[in-house]
């Protein structure tokens, strides 16, 4: 059996069947985070700091505890002690210790018979604060006189003499940038800023937790990774990991923001204290104030170019603010910044800066979109000043197979040139612009990820198949898994049911992040199916009385591998499974690994912007996304990922931002004022799927979930700047900011 040959002619893969979870979701039968109930259930509520930075002097819970209907109150004293590293950081974020570090930081929590009682009781918890100086801006947090937020947080990477709020440092690159700039005909250096944005998932965080005095617990929650939740909740509560079973609910969006825990450990602590199940559901304001937005950034980028468009050197400094905790993804920002280009001389530096804001969480290709905004803006300026075509310049410098990447390794098969050629040849790129419009393009890069993966595939007697995966379905992955299983097994898509298994059912699965699910869970599904096929061939061989290697699998049947193997009628899958109990027992396939061939991903976006010169208001009349998917398993869901990335990017570029007042409090913690695009703000977003197979996957898959949000900030900034006739260096490009730039420009 030549099972490891790369497949390229497909029967099921590349079709667009309905998603298995579709009916449940459109009829309301699907159970999301807030849909779980349990007998005797209590409701939890959290008390949050109204201050950006304050020492917690005293917490008086006596009035709340005396209130009728209140069953438990918890503070940090009810959690495990002695944690270190990221466990400690997560615990500190989930429930403040000595100091409230940002507006919205959890300080205490209460569980009561009703949600209304819990809210009322929360108001009775009296907290005495000593307000401390605060800082929320990334550049100000690095200044000499900035308040020190958590002294001693910096690790050994930080150069001497930096402010204690600089907690990590990154530097990479190769070549001689000074020599490269000297060889350029034009060098442009500019500074850029971006504000924090939120992932904006429609479903707020919600969970139902039950933890007994025996240290055994159950947790139902909306999450991108229930093993992560299991591990962290167990650590924060001081219980054994395997004693906590976590089930992932259906998820109403995550985009990276549900790769960590917030209310889950608090609900477990309340449950343990009350000895009752506790349900918690965040309000939208809590989501915006206290769950992970992106980092805000301040960046300097310098690029040299010859008159013919060759980049001679590139250098970038990227400062990321990730809240009051280390972990802003500045190394990703730095490493992704120049990855689309084959550069002889490149250097990138990153700073991780803490400030009095919520702990940043991953948001689709964390760190990369901001880098692209700065880098691709400077390339656009070079194109304008040297009178060069933006796509041709990018093609001239594009990374390809064998290029030494700006961040170190050499690229294998990649599809950037194919994406740029598709952009150049797309009718959008040559379409006439109307008065007041400008066109922008940008490349984008993301690493993609493998991660721990475990999949089981069990055959039923009737020849149908149950696939258990451990990666919550955030983008149609049940359909993709079923398509890959059906392709491998040679049976119809409808004969396969894919379930997201709980933590007690499979080995550790990494979170649904890093665009890894279609790649890694898909690879594991294919391998598990191949294991089941091998067992089925073995059963057929036994029945026919021929050697195992004389049987092969073809179109869903065991058949003799050739004329010498003997003359037997094909045995269909259902024929083999019907009597599997008597021929050796149940048949299942299993695979687990940490696959490392994820295959990097590139995309190119083309966007037209229209700017009203009297009001500074931008509209987006046309948008095209071109991206390498390796192999599109379910093209409709690949296109959906492309469109979703562009839609979120439009919001980030134009109007979404965290607005902090002088008092360090978040001013816009509701969707009225945190301005996500509405449907009527968006054009039809056109898509082109490029397929340059990933050598690291049996069917050539590359993850597609994240790259789509990398180019929009830059592409839209380039379009807006060309439409307005004035360069925009700061996001969001809100109407007041554009109008001010127009007026300053005269």
């Amino acid at each position: 059996m030549a099972l490891d040959d790369r497949k390229s002619d497909f029967t099921f893969i590349g079709t667009r069947p309905d998603r298995p979870d579709g009916l449940d979701k459109v009829t309301g039968r699907a159970k999301f985070g807030a849909d779980a109930v349990a007998p005797g259930m209590l409701f939890g509520a959290i008390v949050r700091s109204p201050h950006a930075h304050a020492r917690i002097v005293k917490i008086d819970t006596s009035k709340a505890e005396a209130m009728k209907g209140v069953k438990a109150v918890v503070t940090r004293a009810d959690f495990a002690t002695g944690l270190t590293g990221e466990f400690w950081n997560v615990q500190e974020n989930v429930m403040a210790g000595d100091t409230a570090l940002y507006d919205g930081h959890a300080v205490a929590a209460v569980a009561a018979n009703s949600a209304l009682d819990a809210r009322d009781a929360a108001k009775l918890i009296e907290i005495e604060y000593e307000v401390l100086p605060h800082v929320t801006d990334v550049d100000k947090a690095m200044e000499a006189d900035a308040p020190v937020i958590r002294d001693g947080t910096a690790d050994g990477s930080v150069p001497e003499g930096m402010h204690p709020n600089v907690v990590r440092y990154h530097e990479s690159g190769h070549g001689d940038v000074a020599a490269g700039f000297a060889a350029a005909d034009l060098v442009i250096e500019d500074s850029f800023k971006t504000e924090a944005t939120h992932q904006g998932y429609i479903e707020p965080h919600a969970c139902l937790a039950s933890l007994g005095a025996d240290g055994k617990g159950e947790l139902w929650c909306t999450t991108q990774g229930h093993w992560y939740a299991q591990k962290h909740c167990a650590a924060l509560l001081g219980i054994e990991t395997s004693q906590l079973r976590v089930t992932a609910s259906e998820i109403g969006g995550g985009f990276g923001g549900k790769t960590t825990v917030f209310i889950e450990p608090v609900a477990l602590a309340l449950s343990r204290k009350a000895n009752r199940p506790v349900k918690m559901v965040m309000s939208r304001s809590e989501v915006l104030r206290a769950t992970g937005p992106t980092s805000s950034t301040s960046m300097d980028v310098k690029i040299g170019m010859t008159k013919d468009g060759t980049i001679t050197a590139a250098e970038g400094v990227f400062r990321l603010q990730g809240g009051a905790f280390p972990g802003a993804p500045m190394e990703f920002t730095a490493m992704c910044a120049f990855a689309p280009y084959a550069l002889e001389n490149v250097r990138q530096v990153g700073y991780d800066v803490i400030a009095n804001r919520p702990k940043q969480a991953a948001y689709r290709a964390p760190g990369s979109p901001m880098a692209a905004f700065a880098v691709e803006s400077v390339i656009d300026l070079l194109c304008q000043q040297l009178d060069l075509d933006p796509v041709e310049v990018r093609l001239k410098n594009a990374s390809k197979k064998g290029t030494k990447a700006s961040y170190g390794p050499r690229f294998d098969d990649i599809g950037l040139v194919e994406c740029l050629e598709a952009a150049r040849d797309h009718p959008h790129y040559s379409a006439q612009l109307e008065q007041g419009q400008g066109r922008g393009i940008s490349c984008g890069f993301w690493f993609n990820h493998g991660g721990e993966t475990s999949v089981s595939l069990a055959l039923s007697e009737d020849g149908t198949v149950q696939v258990s995966v451990g990666t919550p379905d955030i983008g149609g992955s049940r359909a993709s898994m079923a398509l890959m299983a059906s392709e491998t097994l040679g049976i119809p898509y409808e004969n396969i049911r894919v379930t997201i298994a709980d933590t007690a059912t499979l080995g550790y699965n990494d979170v649904s992040h890093g665009s890894r699910v279609t790649y890694a869970s898909g690879l594991a599904t294919i391998k598990a199916a191949q294991a089941a096929i091998a067992e089925m061939c073995k059963r057929a061989a036994a029945k026919w009385g021929i050697p195992e290697d004389a049987v092969k699998w073809e179109d869903g049947c065991a058949v003799p591998s050739g004329p010498n193997a003997g003359d037997f009628e094909p045995l269909a899958m259902a024929d083999i499974t019907a009597d599997m109990g008597a021929t050796g027992g149940p048949i299942s396939g299993h695979f687990e690994a940490t696959p490392e061939g994820a295959g990097v991903s590139f995309g190119v976006h083309i966007v037209d912007a229209q700017v009203d010169p009297e009001t500074g208001k931008t509209s987006i009349p046309r948008y095209t996304v071109i991206q390498d998917a390796g192999k599109a398993i379910h093209p409709a869901y690949v296109e959906g990922q492309f469109q979703g990335g562009a839609a979120q990017g439009i919001g980030w570029a134009l109007n979404e931002e965290y607005v902090y007042g002088e008092d360090g409090r978040l001013q816009n913690a509701v969707f009225l004022d945190y301005r996500i695009p509405v449907a009527s703000d968006l054009p039809m977003i056109d898509t082109v799927i490029v397929e340059v197979p990933n050598p690291g996957h049996p069917y050539g898959v590359r993850g597609v979930g994240e790259t789509g949000i990398v180019p929009p900030l830059a592409a839209i900034a380039n379009a807006v700047s060309r439409a307005a006739g004035v360069r925009m260096f700061e996001l969001p490009m809100s109407p007041p900011r554009i109008l001010a730039a127009l007026k300053a420009d005269g």
Partner: protein, 293 residues
Amino acid sequence: MNYHSPASFAEASALAANVDGVTRFLAGGTDVLVQLRADIVTPDTLIDIKMIDGVSDIIQNDDGSWTLGVAVTGAEMTEHAGLSQDWPGVVEAMDLVGSTQVQGRATLTGNLCNGSPAADSVPAMVAAGVTVTVTSADGSREVAVEKVPTGPGRTSLAKGELVSAVNIPARGDNAGDAYLRFIPRTEMDIAVVGVAVSLRLDGDIVTEARVCLGAVAPTVLLVQDCADAINGSTLDDAALDALAVAASAACNPITDKRGTVEFRTDVAGVLAKRAAKIAYARANGETVKGDHA
């Protein structure tokens, strides 16, 4: 919290007059219930006025004027052909409030009594010369809309007083109105600047202009200088420029999460010109779709 649903305005007024603490009247509830859930206002007394006879009626009187009940929703206004024909600016301003779902509940009276300087329907009502009937134990009086809000979240209504009807004047001939607001998105947002214009034409000359600005001061502003800038003109470029200057000059805005002083001041002038052009075209008998900027 005590909830009441009186059968008459007199009863509602008496209830409100005789309770202590925070009282809120409930019609559509699109502000009151949201504020309650968000812990912004927790009323001690909630008086639901939707059960009072006639509160959902839209009546055109013999003289051509209109009387709207206090629970008439935005959706009912938008679907009313006669009202939309007479006062497209007022109807479109109300239609801009919130989502389709909110339109099924939200009312002119609620939008007014919420006291927001950014309320979309209020500048349009002021430009149109709308009055409200205010009922109390002492009977009823008629109050111009611009006299109701006194600052963000505050109104001139005394304890025991409530609005019992909305009175829109007869439109008459050769007249038109328009309301435009600036929002960064296309819908589901709150005005950063709002401008309403109502005018009549004598031939091609503007008369009876009323211009009202929203979201650029603690209350909506009825600006006589704006009216003066276009009254007596053919709305030529010079008049429009004078209108824009007058509108910007009248602004007394703040910088906040929704916009800056400079932006609001500039855009008030831009929108005043655009709204005046629409009102002028409508007065000329043209059908113009009001499109927010």
